[in-house]
């Protein structure tokens, strides 16, 4: 966007898969469930692809209408691994076509290991928030989720969120003494109209439909850009590699339909193909056969809980589907790394998905879960991650390999944090039912392969995203993040991309 606004011409090469196969009728989820005879199409899929009989793991939340996000990715960009099975995307806007829209800022302690800090990104957080719409409020989480002036009013929360936060307010001192802080999440979801998108209608259809566009999807920015004569989107192209010539960059791309190669020229190349996609292109281009680069990925835990505060209380039908509350566990305060969790209610993903992971007989299970599910909350925790030799990517010929292993001490640290969080949650009458440690890569937060650093080392980027060893190649996705705090990285990645693009526009 800054490049277009500065009058530059931009050509975007992308495979650009789009959704739309399973339209859902407008209306609240419960109403649609009771009336639409064709609901099985979008709720289960025409090929029943919505009934996942394997372990809860990669893409567990991907409903049939969202599965376009990973279409063709494994076929066109296979990843070889014995330990890391990523969800990756060739869709317009990438994985954010199905993201949970969590949009916290990184605060200063989150930038440990980065050559930039909050001050470098602060104006860009504001710019991006103004552009895409982020709702939130100033509450106990403000210091942990970062200062952000451009906030829309916080979205209404449902019964679970209300009773949990209500209990927290009454037990705040006890909770804080156990290092537990709760509040509203920052969500890239509109509560006020913005740039042609509508406020969320609280229909609880956000896992199924994008009606009104209240939840930010990058495709809406692409649509805005396409209105400019300076922007050209060329789809069905998979970038293969680049080579710098005298004064320009030559990019080779493959047409995914004809398999033909073609070349494009640019003064500057900006790579934002997602960590895995960008890394593949860079390794291929810089001819570092067999070279390994690090990778980091937030370890991902689902923690279903029983919200005792909600038992027997009425439920709110009008709600959104995304996180209703946010939790921070900060035993060492703001200055040291802390753990962030997002708390979801459970309804629109249907009971059968829960049945899969319970040992109950199906008839009684359905009965029990129907009555208990209004009192369920699911906390999703994403632990911080740092590079180690056991986490790497490498390209040998066309074989792109990713391997990932957590050390015993990393696992113990994460389990210790989870145990402490579970005990702290009891103070606000939330009882952990279990903790499911999803496989590596489940968080889909990949980063660290071309880390930004002040050290002049190959296969790194400088603090302004320039790929070392090149004159005019820049990287703007998660590849450049050297580490990951316990937070979603998407909003920070957008702010960083805006920062890099702004510098390029001024150059």
């Amino acid at each position: 966007m800054p490049l277009i606004e500065a009058g530059r011409a931009v050509r975007m090469l992308d495979v650009g898969n789009a959704g739309g196969r399973y339209p859902m009728p407008d209306g609240p989820f419960e109403q649609v469930r009771r009336t639409d005879p064709d609901q099985h199409r979008y709720l289960l899929g025409d090929h029943f692809e919505g009934i996942a009989l394997e372990d809860l793991g990669i893409g567990a939340h991907l409903t049939p209408p969202r599965q376009f996000v990973c279409e063709d990715a494994d076929r066109l960009q296979p990843v070889a691994s014995t330990s890391f099975f990523p969800l990756h995307s060739l869709a317009v806007g990438g994985l954010a076509g199905a993201w949970g829209a969590g949009a916290p800022c990184f605060v200063e302690s989150d930038f440990a290991g980065f050559p930039i800090g909050f001050a470098d990104l602060a104006p860009h957080y504001e710019t991006v928030a103004s552009r895409i719409g982020i709702n939130g409020t100033r509450d106990d989480l403000w210091p942990f989720l970062g200062q952000l002036a451009a906030l829309q009013p916080a979205v209404e929360i449902d019964h679970n969120g209300a009773t949990i936060l209500g209990r927290y307010e009454r037990a705040r001192d006890k909770a804080n003494r156990r290092a537990l802080y709760l509040g509203r999440p920052r969500l890239a979801m509109l509560t006020q109209p913005l740039r042609g998108r509508s406020a969320n209608r609280l229909w609880d259809t956000d896992f199924w439909s994008d009606t009104g566009g209240s939840v930010y999807r990058p495709s809406s920015t692409v649509d805005e850009l396409r209105a400019s004569s300076r922007f050209e989107l060329v789809t069905r192209k998979l970038v293969v590699d680049f080579v710098e010539r005298d004064g320009w960059v030559e990019i080779t791309a493959r047409d995914v339909d004809t398999n033909q190669l073609e070349t494009h020229r640019a003064r500057t190349l900006v790579l934002g193909a997602g960590t895995l996609g960008t890394t593949r292109v860079v390794l291929r281009s810089l001819a570092r056969a067999g070279a390994r680069v690090p990778i980091v990925c937030n370890p991902h835990t689902y923690m279903p809980m029983l919200n005792l505060n909600q038992l027997g209380k009425p439920i709110r039908d009008a709600r959104h589907s995304l996180a209703q509350a946010c939790m921070v566990y900060a035993p060492d305060g703001l200055e040291r790394p802390f753990t962030v969790g997002h708390i979801y209610s459970y309804r629109s993903l249907l009971m059968f998905r829960l049945m899969k992971d319970t040992p109950l007989p199906h008839r009684e299970g359905l009965e029990i879960l129907r009555h208990l599910s209004p009192n369920f909350a699911v906390m999703i925790l994403q632990h911080a991650d740092h590079p180690t030799p056991a986490k790497y990517c490498e390209l040998a010929g066309e074989k792109f390999t990713v391997e990932y292993a957590s050390s015993t001490s990393e696992q113990a640290a994460n389990l210790g944090v989870e145990s402490a969080i579970a005990k702290s949650l009891l103070r606000i009458r939330c009882v952990k039912l279990r903790a499911h440690h999803a496989g590596h890569a489940t968080s889909t937060h990949f980063a660290g392969t071309l880390p930004m650093t002040d050290r002049d080392e190959p296969l790194t980027t400088d603090r302004d995203g320039k790929l070392r060893g090149t004159r005019a190649v820049y990287v703007v996705d998660g590849s450049v993040f050297p580490t990951l705090p316990s937070k979603g990285l998407t909003f920070t990645m957008m702010a960083n991309a805006n920062r890099i693009a702004t510098k390029l526009a001024r150059a």
Binding site: E30, R33, R34, T35, D36, P37, Q39, H40, L43, L44, H47, F48, G50, I51, L53, E54, L311, G312, K313, P314, I315, R347, L350, M351, F352, M355, K356, T358, P359, L360, P361, H362, R363, E364, G365, L366, E367, I368, R370, H371, L372, S373, P374
Partner: protein, 133 residues
């Protein structure tokens, strides 16, 4: 896979789950799902037994939940659960329900006792069925 068997399963499993015979639309949807989902293709002694003895579904399901959660019966029942849950006519039998605390306790208690009985009886029956092959 035998479509006649699949249709029988749909009727047996549907009645087990929601207490009424499923419509022909749902029976057909179950048949189609079994052709589309590799994980539920095939047959085994336990599933065959439930087709012949519908009364046994609850017992064998309960036992499998405890000792064979990845079994073919469990997967097929999950498929039928998904199908009944995505049917408007059955929405009131599958959607979340809020009741007062005393009623919740009673409902959970009854379901729990029934489950315990079914698990116990189901484990015994499961052993017999598997031995008969």
């Amino acid at each position: 896979m035998n479509d006649t068997d699949l249709r029988t399963e749909a009727r047996v499993f549907g009645r087990y789950l929601v207490g009424e015979a499923p419509s022909e639309v749902l029976v057909e949807r179950y048949r189609a799902a079994n052709h589309a989902i590799p994980a539920v293709q095939g047959d085994d002694a336990v599933v065959a037994y439930t087709r012949q003895h519908p009364w046994s579904v609850s017992l064998l399901d309960a036992a499998a939940g405890l000792v064979a959660s990845g079994s073919l019966l469990r997967k097929k029942l999950l498929v039928m659960t998904a199908i009944v849950e995505t049917t408007p006519e059955l929405a009131t039998k599958t959607e979340p329900r809020v009741v007062g605390l005393p009623q919740l306790a009673v409902r959970l208690g009854v379901a729990g006792v029934r489950t315990a009985f079914e698990v116990t009886a189901g484990l015994a029956l499961s052993a017999v069925v598997k031995r008969r092959g």
